[in-house]
């Protein structure tokens, strides 16, 4: 369900909305590249690429500032309503999600530099696949944004579950390595943060999907999102209300 829009009577209004879309597209493209470069630098052990990726985060921030100023200007001068209002507000929100994605990508690159000085850890191998999925989701959600396609957005929103599940299994695997060999704790911890960052990037892609859905339809997605990240309880059992607090016999206490 894509929503077709006619042209405004005032042509410059359309041009401004178009410019807003372009800024989001540029920002989204950069965020996509940043994530790809960060993961590449990690997998190929490319220090130079990692450093460049860290530096490039500035560019995303710059576009965000430009976009912020532009939306404020449009709100003040055009007083958009209905679908136009939803579009301007959405641009503002999508930009802040993309900016966060950029931050996480830069952090992945930073940790890639740190990880380079450590012994390599096996679970690193599953990172590119996870990153690939996240990248695909970013790409698709940006397409959905450009086309105002609510169904496509819903699709991205639902597919985040797979990323969550991959993260949970990577979490468990890394934890096992760290338990077996304490010397792997440093690299294991960096790896966990990297995986978590990538998983968070996936979450921001689903945020954007929600925004796109709202922009296209005027409604919020009303169903509960399937979630596959159970890593919070990978070691410690979820608190069970039936057990009296501090019984001392649950898994969590044994692990401490």
């Amino acid at each position: 369900m894509t929503s077709e829009q006619g042209d405004h009577i005032i042509r410059s209004y359309d041009e401004e909305l178009e410019h807003l879309k372009e800024l989001i597209a540029r920002m989204g493209g950069l965020a996509e590249t940043q994530l790809a470069d960060a993961v590449d630098s990690l997998v190929r052990n490319d220090q130079e690429l990692a450093t460049r990726t860290i530096r490039n985060d500035e560019k995303i921030d710059e576009i965000e500032h430009e976009l912020d100023a532009y939306t404020v200007r449009m709100l003040a001068l055009r007083q958009p309503v209905a679908s136009d209002l939803r579009m301007v507000i959405s641009a503002l929100k999508v930009a802040s999600d993309l900016e966060r994605i950029g931050d996480y990508a830069a952090n992945v690159a930073k940790r890639a530099v740190a990880l380079h000085q450590q012994q390599p850890l096996d679970p690193v191998r599953s990172l590119p696949r996870m990153a690939k999925l996240v990248q695909t989701n970013i790409k698709r959600v940006l397409d959905a944004y450009a086309k105002r396609d609510a169904n496509m957005a819903l699709n991205v929103w639902e597919s985040d579950q797979e990323i969550d599940e991959m993260y949970t299994s990577l979490f468990r695997e890394t934890l096992t390595y760290m338990m077996e060999d304490p010397r792997s704790i440093t690299s294991g911890t960096h790896l966990l943060f990297i995986a978590k960052n990538i998983e968070r990037i996936g979450d921001h892609a689903t945020n954007i999907a929600e925004i796109v859905y709202f922009m296209a339809t005027g409604n919020q997605i009303m169903i509960d999102r399937p979630k596959g990240d159970t890593s919070s309880f990978a070691v410690v059992e979820p608190p069970n209300e039936d057990k009296t607090a501090g019984s001392g016999s649950n898994n969590g206490d044994e692990q401490k």
Binding site: G6, A82, S83
Partner: protein, 269 residues
């Protein structure tokens, strides 16, 4: 019926916010051979502000003027369908249009004070409807009405001066005071701010906000921001049809009809 009992009744009635005050069913209006309204069904709820929007010639003013039989004055105008006020058909033979217009008052686009003093402008309605027993009572109604219209402070020391000598915004508030003076139940406003500057407009909008507790208000406006600001519900008219009516918030964030969307966002239909 004297002024006080009517006020007391209105206060009691004010508890029924949301109930239907006026109801239009299949209202068709033609001027000569041209049909201007093609069967409109619309409820006006008790003590709400209802905004009517739409492009020029869409029928919104025509509809508004049906609500207190202002169209009666146009010879070639024919009206069919039914409009009720508190369940009573206002086009019934037993209804006196003059009495009806005391219950359903009107404020026009251009401020049109009578060429009389400020006092007489407001006192005119209560006088001809025989609302008052003595001069003091009349003076009080004039003061109360001017206060409610937010004009008292500006004119209390020059009530004898002609109403036409006031500024445009003041004149419009004088007309609102004049409408209020006969204690109507419904006030119809036909683009009340289109001739006013932003400050005077803000004062009128503030006034609408103030008096909406006591009156049912239907306002026609070309200024969509104004409709968005003052009304609780908005009705969109297009080519003589009522396209959509809904909560103002919904109309301006997520309208249901493409024509509404195109109109309020400034697109070609």
């Amino acid at each position: 019926m004297n002024y006080e009992t009517k006020t007391a009744e209105k206060l009691m009635a004010a508890e029924n916010i949301g109930e239907t005050k006026m109801q239009a069913r299949d209202v068709r209006v033609s001027y000569g051979d041209t049909e201007a309204l093609h069967g409109v069904n619309l409820d006006v709820r008790h003590n709400e502000v209802l905004a009517l929007i739409g492009p020029s010639g869409c029928g919104k003013s025509t509809f508004l003027r049906c609500l207190n039989r202002m169209n009666d004055t146009i010879d070639i105008c024919r009206i069919s369908g039914e409009i009720t006020l508190d369940g009573q058909n206002i086009y019934d033979r037993s209804i006196d249009p003059v009495q009806l217009r005391a219950r359903v008052g009107m404020v026009f686009q251009k401020p049109n004070p009578f060429p009389k003093s400020i006092f007489d402008n407001v006192a005119y309605g209560p006088r001809i409807h025989g609302f008052t027993r003595d001069k003091e009572e009349l003076r009080q109604i004039v003061e109360t009405s001017l206060r409610r219209a937010g004009l008292w402070k500006e004119v209390h020391d020059r009530l004898d001066e002609p109403g036409t000598g006031l500024s445009g915004g003041q004149q419009q508030r004088l007309c609102i005071a004049r409408a209020i003076a006969v204690n109507p139940e419904v006030i119809l406003m036909d683009e009340p701010c289109s001739a006013l500057d932003p400050i005077a407009t803000a004062l009128i909008e503030e006034l609408i906000d103030e008096i909406k507790q006591s009156y049912t208000i239907v306002i026609v406006t070309h200024n969509m921001q104004q409709a968005a600001r003052v009304s609780r519900r908005t009705a969109f008219f297009h080519l003589g049809n009522l396209v959509e009516v809904g909560e103002t918030e919904q109309i301006f964030t997520n309208p249901g009809d493409q024509r509404t969307q195109d109109y309020i966002t400034g697109r070609f239909g």
